[in-house]
Amino acid sequence: MSADRQTETVKEGADADATVNDIAFKIATVNGTGSASANGLLMKAIFRMGIPVSGKNLFPSNIQGLPTWYEIRVNGRGHTARTPDFDLMVAMNPATYAQDVVEVRSGGWLLHDSSWPLPRELHRDDVTVLGVPLAEMCNARFEGARTRILLKNIAYAGVLAALLEMDLKVIDQLLEETYGKKKKLLDANFEAVRMGHDWAREHLECPLPTSLEPMGETDGCILVDGNTAAALGCVYAGATVAGWYPITPSTSLIDAFKGFCDELRTDADGRNNVAIIQAEDELAAAGMVIGANWVGARGFTATSGPGISLMSEFIGLAYYAEIPGVFFNIQRTGPSTGMPTRTQQGDLMMCAYASHGDTKHICLYPSDPAESFDFAVRAFDLAERYQTPVFVVQDLDIGMNDWVVPEFAWDDAYRPDRGKVLTAQELEELDAYHRYLDKDGDGVAARTVPGVHPKGAFFTRGSGHDRYGRYTEDAAAYQDVMERLLDKVDGAVSVLPSPEIVGEENGATYGMITIGGCRGAVLEARERLRERGVAVDVLRVRGFPFPDDVEAFIRRHTRTFVVEQNRDAQLLGMLLLETDVHREHLASIRQYGGMPLSAGEVVNGVADWLKEWHGSDAPDVRGASTARTHRREA
């Protein structure tokens, strides 16, 4: 069994190595050859078999021609974080054979297109090579270069169906749903699946000892990516203006929003109840969001780190002039262009304190697409309630990959929380209106929107103002407003999503704090550490500013590991800035090279720290994984 994972149910009567519903496989192809549909087909088929599954699309920043990989992890116990040890490699790209062979776990399999022989020197004694002449078969069976290439992908899906004992009826059904109206294409796809499947049955030992069996674990679940989920959240939140500029990995959020709006936001005459504007750059996109919110609409943008950098000046204005706005930052690997198609959590600090001067922003950190949907809606409520920019800080891994999550819930009684916006009636009854006067003592002053009532007119600007909204350069009057702004944003803690805590009944010695898409790997690591005698309580922050629970959690534990995906331990740094805990209570575990986190990496990080603290007395928790993490010296 792979070092990074736990052995699952042993099939009765089968040999001791046989496992069911615990497999990780990786498909190596070439970008732009249509492998995405075959990979999606496999994912969905496994999902429909009721087995927890995840897919990680590791694609290059390229449109066509470079190597691309797709990793699928199936796990009956629901552990679907990435794992770097693969039982089966589907090596369809001769250009990456050498690299792909290395990644197969000892005792695993390598499936390749034997139309191009696997060089002798690449064979490994501990890996079974399965050759299938896919290209040859496709060339013989189908016409046209494009068709042959596309159907070769479907054919390897057929081979996998045979090797893993997947239900062909499920695959047929899926193909019918996709190509139902295009009879010729559908038939060709059926044929390609059968071709691969039958060839494997005839020439290979099927199924592999590691195979699949239907379960009911995905009932009540959906398979969706976080950008689509967030886009739908924006629709349900009633967003009417989106200003944006294309940047991977956020573009698919806007694309999805457009798609939903075409369907759900056009009136009987075909006119749109939404304005989606592709801006000339992210500066303009941010300005559009602020302009739309200033007149009372729910406006948002979606971008990635470099875009937030460009938006920073405007974010300062919105913070100080107290204008709502929702900013989705789908984080990619920075700095600069970095690795734009790889995941990271490198913008935690930037979003929390974006812009010049003293600023501090409400942030939400979804851990999966279900939270992406939920937090998108909440972000608009928070932005309006606190009249401030709100960031949804989402990992690329969540935004762009498909996740199995519980169905989204919606309550038709929901109405947007518009916060304190004075109506014409209220303004009529008012003697005088002062934009920044905190009458209720909660740090939030009532705002007005243009066009409602003459008494509501106000000259919004970024210059120094006193508590009444009058221009000032007076030190005390300026500080008075700045203090209120801090209280206001800190006050949002009471309605932010509270941290998720998974822990021992009586509390463990060690704590572990994490964020976003690290959740799965951390919870899996927690189980593994527990089995190896080290109990750890886990807390996942879901919003910023942090509630008191976070500091209390750290204080409850002798040491708290902070697991995150960036070089500089940004989450740890924020914990130090925002709480009174001491540095020596926190131990950083980081992996930030662009890959989603794996449980093995977390376990290794813990093992390193335990060794540092306890030397040779440290319990042995480490698995023999290839995973590399970086500790930060205390």
Binding site: L232, A275, A284, G291, A292, W410, P450, A457
Partner: protein, 351 residues
């Protein structure tokens, strides 16, 4: 969201418009600009134009960037909502605001630094997107607020106060706007109210982006011999080529224009702009011709003013976006939120 102001009792000497508002109701707070600054004259023209147009002040959104010019929205329409944003970025704010609430009248004020250097991209794209707004560019050839550095509109060879000579070609906002397909391009001079007021009125009524480049001398840093944007230079070299009279659809002013002397262009909303003093053969609806004329005048160091180009075809942002007539801020919740049943349907795709 219209709100009709209740009639108020005013000093009988102050004339009122049909809303019962006097010119004073269109004023703002006291200007803090230098005495004699051209920008103040433009402010006065805006006040007059808004009063004459009988705009409800609170239905106007006045926006600006940063600079002395961008400060001026404080000094007019004190009862309108205003937004003094960040340097060079007012067009984006206006775009988002206009997208969300098409029911307001948008009036942007900017400077040559704000519009032609840091904000030139946003200006270009607001023109290209055809945001429904009047954009007044108060052009003094310098950065006033930061104390007299050359701006991108400073003329070749003009000298700064300290004697430094500008060696870079200027960017002419009028030529720029024409090139970008702007549907309303005008130029005027801050000291020429008779010309400026009707242009502002026409620009506000234009459905789409209207640019008025107003030469507006900076008395502190750019009103000396050698500056082509000084009062003296401008007065001597102005060429009023095409002046416009603005006519409201319901209250048509019937002052006589002799046939053959003028030309009337009907605008999208039914209002009309009438040109006069049109030079021989000048066609304000012919972009190429406007271009050639401007080039031609430039050779003899003349600055043509007036309404230089107009196109009344309906290509404004909302018609391109295909948005509903109702301002998006007023669209009902039922139209915006698809609800629980629709969600169940959508999720079926993800199984």
């Amino acid at each position: 969201m219209s709100y009709i102001t209740k009639p108020r009792v005013h000093h009988p000497a102050l004339p009122t418009n049909s809303l019962g508002l006097t010119r004073r109701d269109y004023e703002g707070s006291m200007s803090t600009l230098c005495a004699g600054c051209g920008h103040d004259s433009i402010t006065a023209a805006i006040i007059e134009a808004a009063w004459e147009l009988e705009l409800e002040p609170h239905m106007v959104a006045k926006l600006s960037g940063i600079g002395c010019s961008s400060k001026t929205p404080t000094y007019f329409l004190g009862k309108a909502h205003g937004f003094n944003s960040v340097h060079g970025r007012m067009p984006a704010i206006a775009t988002g605001a206009s997208a969300a609430n098409r029911g307001l009248t948008y009036l942007g004020v900017s400077g040559d630094g704000d519009s032609l250097s840091i904000g030139i991209g946003q200006l270009c794209h607001a023109i290209r997107r055809n945001v429904n707004m009047l954009y007044v560019l108060e052009n003094n050839g310098v950065y006033g607020l930061t104390k007299g550095q050359f701006s991108a509109s400073a003329d070749l060879g003009s000298t700064a106060k300290k004697g430094e000579v500008n060696r870079s070609e200027p960017i002419d906002p009028v030529l720029l706007a024409l090139t970008l397909g702007c549907g309303f391009v005008a130029r005027s001079f801050s000291g020429d109210k008779a010309q400026l007021i009707p242009l502002i009125k026409a620009g506000l009524a234009h459905d789409g982006f209207a640019l008025i480049d107003v030469i507006s001398p900076c008395v502190a840093f750019n009103d000396h011999q050698g500056s082509t944007k000084s009062y003296k230079y401008t007065r001597d070299h102005l060429e009023e080529a095409v002046a416009a009279d603005f006519i409201l659809p319901m209250a048509e002013i019937t002052t006589s224009y002799e046939a053959g002397q003028g030309r009337t262009v009907e605008m999208h909303d039914g209002t009309r702009v009438r040109f006069r003093k049109v030079p021989e053969g000048y066609d304000p609806t012919d972009r190429d011709h406007a271009y050639a004329y401007l080039r031609d005048r430039a050779h003899v160091a003349e600055v043509p003013t007036g309404l230089l180009y107009i196109d009344t075809e309906d290509r404004a942002m909302h018609s391109v976006l295909g948005t509903v007539q109702t301002p998006l801020v007023d669209v009902g919740w039922d139209e915006l939120c698809p609800g629980e049943d629709a969600l169940a349907g959508i999720m079926e795709r993800w199984r």
